[in-house]
Symmetry: C2
């Protein structure tokens, strides 16, 4: 029996490779909760699968349907947000997190209550749009044993660094974050192309 | 560049192989909506990954956290349901479905409203517990291009066949099912072990 089959990937899969290649120069890798990731000089953000031995580590995730956001919130987010890849967005930050078994055993209404009512996750995110662009990737249901549940990739201009720090602090002080059992912060910078 | 890496799998991943092996004798493969699956004599239900050329087709999915069920509903379901593998459950049915892009672009509240208020999905499921055991598998966020979004595997005793037909009919008449764009029904039977 062999699992060596190359399978087609949907356009929603992205890979983040820590290693010595890629556009993004890694400035710091900081363990916020529990274990860190191995040091890497550069980060490569790739559309598709990249489970290769090329990197020091590879994190994979898929963009997916919204899990908690309601219609009015989705419209508010869509009307304010801007895409990745803006020329001035020279700062890139990857935040992989893993949530606890307790979080995953909550029901939909309980998770939504923590996410929205107590943690104001959407309100916090809205406040920093469009300055801070983000893309959320899900890892938990990939079918492989991934070290994290979510990978969030942020991009912003250097002038917005303080705003980004405020955003992170607000999220980390929220009730939702009590269910985070591993979190790493990977700060990157991109030179001119 | 090679993708030929064997990766670890979480215990939540299951594979359904249509072919000439496995405990389950396939009685019928019926296309309910859109394209059918290729004929297969037997169905093998395997814990873990099985992307091998051994089967005529392989469908994979992961069990995951609940997406719409609330606490009271979860408790009601848990208190009534029984597990797979009961000795008398000689009937097995696999129902792979794919939902439309329109469904996936709905927000959480909109999907919950269709799932619960209009379609009474939970109420219908509760009515047939514990006679009909089921396990739901998610395929959409596996990171590979899967032909379906969900695989539901049902097991019940032959005497419950009419009840099972009623359950299927109730679900297919629901508003939720208007968002199903592909559905196949694979009925199986297991001889004595």
């Amino acid at each position: 029996m062999s699992n060596l089959v190359i399978t087609e990937q949907p356009a929603r899969l992205f890979s983040f490779l820590g290693g010595d290649q890629g556009r993004w120069l890694v400035q710091s890798i900081t363990p916020i909760i529990a274990a860190t990731l191995a040091p890497a000089a550069r980060l490569d953000v790739i559309a598709g699968d990249a489970r290769t031995p090329a990197g020091v580590w590879t994190l994979r995730g898929v963009t997916s349907n919204v899990r908690y956001v309601e219609r009015a919130e989705k419209l508010a987010l869509l009307s304010k947000q801007e895409g990745l890849g803006r020329p001035g967005s020279r700062c890139g930050v990857l935040i992989p997190i893993k949530k606890s078994d307790e979080w995953w055993s909550l029901t939909q209404d309980e998770r939504r209550e923590i996410f929205a009512a107590h943690s104001k996750h959407i309100e916090i995110s809205l406040k920093y749009l469009p300055a801070i662009a983000r893309r959320l990737h899900h890892c938990r249901d990939l079918g492989t044993a991934e070290p994290f549940d979510f990978l969030t990739w942020f991009e912003y201009a250097p002038a917005e660094s303080t705003a980004f720090d405020d955003l992170l602090q607000a999220l980390r002080e929220s009730l939702e974050w009590r269910y985070v059992e591993r979190e790493v912060e990977i700060r990157c910078y991109a030179d001119g192309d």
